[in-house]
Symmetry: C2
């Protein structure tokens, strides 16, 4: 992998770290001020870092004493100078206060990233899971 | 809108035209050879234009005498030289052979586009709908 691809992966690892520590400010700092998000759950779209932070706060607050461990499996990426697209499968594992895995699910993630002043940020995020035609329910595990 | 943004919109209109005419080759020509797709339905991911064309063929063949009219509502885009990100709500309306609307649904679309030799192509596509926590079913209409 190129140095730049490694830098983009660093953002993914920072995402995992912010989720694990339920740190809203650390989470929000990954996103561009004017970020546009298609999130996996409930809302059609979100715009701006404040909306992303509000979503993250609701998520982290709902966890109680549990933690979420995120694992990133990169699938496809393109880096062109200060612009990048990054696609991955993200596995979210719910852990008890004792660190025991209680449940898990997988999502598909697209990030469109831009580098400004040497720092990569997420300008657009799209997370989802494919839906079954038969049940219209989302399929939360990668093959 | 800038000229470049108009050019990206032209790809969206060409997509709608290819779907309406069920033209697999015209549809496939919108995509880069090495395109990577997170599709709304069934499959976790697809890679390469041939896989996209096979998906389109299955879709078009399933329509019988019906046609699909696609309407594009742009939500957010960034164009930087020969790279662009385009986000929109796409409305798919099923039409009878007589042109009567039978049903419709909406999806969220992300395109990562690249321009090579003056031609914009889709390098990455992510289509989805948000899921309800309660039912785990996809919500197929924009607010």
């Amino acid at each position: 992998m190129s140095q730049t691809t490694d830098e983009v992966l660093t953002v993914a690892h920072a995402y995992a770290k912010a989720v694990r520590s339920k740190d809203v400010a650390q989470f929000g700092a990954l996103y561009h001020d004017d970020v546009f998000v298609f999130d996996m759950w409930e809302s059609w779209s979100l715009r701006g870092r404040a909306a992303v932070e509000a979503m993250a706060k609701g998520w982290f607050d709902s966890l109680g004493t549990e933690q979420v461990a995120v694992t990133v499996a990169p699938l496809w990426s393109r880096v062109d100078g200060d612009r990048a697209t990054f696609c991955a499968t993200l596995r979210y594992a719910g852990l008890s206060a004792q660190g025991e895995e209680l449940r898990s699910m997988e999502n598909r993630l697209t990030w469109s990233l831009i580098r400004e002043n040497g720092k990569w940020q997420v300008a657009h995020e799209h997370s989802s899971a494919p839906a079954s035609f038969k049940t219209m329910q989302v399929i939360l595990s990668a093959p």
